[in-house]
């Protein structure tokens, strides 16, 4: 396990572009995904499978919502908050959206500074991303508490209308929140690796024994942006419908 396995991408000088490029990449009898480290290709394939999981949730939610004969609780009112004596619709969710988008912005910049080998900047940006992610999860915990304790919403029923509301809400936002929480842990691990200089000195990782490289920041970034991406869909179809 001490020997590091090379992880660098294939560097071929001239690769055909366009459709011809697809055919030659896939038929090249070695690796189909040129110019990307395998870890990044694997993260993309994992994210594709995760897309199918979240889509299954969202499509089941759509099916359940379209087929119920009871009125669906109005998310605009359920998720309203009273601020400064005024009731503002959906404001909590809007703030959560902005926090998650900002964390995506800092993540993208962390990836960029990582490839420029600016260790401290990358570390700080990763920590800001993790902090924003943790804030998001905290607000979600607040939202769940409000719904469970104050509004009496349960997965099997609620006083506001269609019984399916709770099941869909807790399943979808719960799964998304789990992804964010795992992402925060993942971010802190990568941040520690960055500040310790593991990536600059290509130290083997504790789990895989592969050489440390700044591409792991980008791979982490892919996961984080995906979490933001899923939220875009949840925000649109669950909260704005």
């Amino acid at each position: 396990m001490t020997q590091a396995v090379p992880t660098s991408a294939v560097e071929s000088p001239q690769l055909p572009e366009g459709l011809q490029g697809i055919v030659s990449d896939w038929s090249s009898d070695q690796r189909a995904f040129k110019n990307v480290p395998w870890g990044k290709a694997m993260m993309w394939i994992f994210l594709l499978s995760d897309t199918f999981i979240f889509s299954s949730f969202l499509i089941s939610y759509m099916t359940v919502r379209m087929s119920t004969t009871d009125p669906w609780p109005n998310p605009s009112e359920v998720f309203a908050l009273t601020l400064w004596g005024k009731k503002i619709p959906l404001i909590l969710i809007a703030i959560m959206t902005f926090i998650l988008i900002s964390s995506s912005g800092t993540m993208a910049m962390a990836v960029n500074f990582g490839y420029r080998k600016q260790r401290v900047k990358t570390f700080v940006l990763l920590l800001i991303t993790a902090a924003l992610g943790a804030t998001f999860v905290g607000m979600q915990a607040f939202e769940w508490t409000k719904l469970i304790v104050d509004e009496g919403i349960r997965p099997w029923g609620n006083p506001l209308g269609a019984a399916q509301f709770g099941a869909a809400f807790f399943m979808i936002t719960g799964f998304h929140g789990t992804h964010v929480s795992i992402g925060v842990i993942f971010l802190i691990i990568v941040a520690i690796k960055v500040i310790r200089g593991d990536l600059d000195h290509e130290r083997p990782g504790f789990l895989t024994g592969r050489k440390g490289k700044y591409e792991i920041v980008e791979i982490m970034g892919l996961y984080w942006h995906f979490v933001d991406l899923v939220w875009v869909f949840i925000f649109a179809v669950f909260y704005l419908w």
Binding site: G21, F33, A94, G105, Y214, E215
Partner: protein, 108 residues
């Protein structure tokens, strides 16, 4: 030229996309705030949603600069979800119809 590792783009492009995502999010929030209804609401929500998703995947996730083989391998399979969406909608309409019939019978 020095050895180039990974994706390197000017910081400015990330800041611009970040700003654009903020604008689009505000716009989709305003759709709810101003109580747009019906097809206009749906059109606006879906447009903003797809624009935001596109920007995140293309720029933040660097899909724009990947080779076509990678792009197609990841993006084309997601089109299958349209089939699932269609099946879900058909099934939901049918369930809604049978429930309507059932509950109507219960009244008599």
């Amino acid at each position: 030229m020095a050895h180039v590792e990974g994706q390197q783009h000017p910081i400015g492009i990330y800041l611009k996309i970040w700003g654009l995502l903020f604008v689009l999010s505000t716009a989709s929030y305003l759709v709810d705030y101003f109580h747009f209804q019906g097809y206009l609401r749906w059109f606006l929500i879906i447009t903003f949603m797809l624009m935001k998703a596109g920007l995140i995947v293309a720029v933040f996730m660097h899909m724009l600069w990947e080779r076509l083989a990678m792009m197609y391998a990841i993006l084309v399979p997601t089109l299958l979800l349209m089939v699932l969406l269609g099946i879900g909608a058909l099934e939901a309409d049918y369930t809604f119809f049978t429930r309507g019939v059932f509950f109507l019978k219960a009244l008599f």
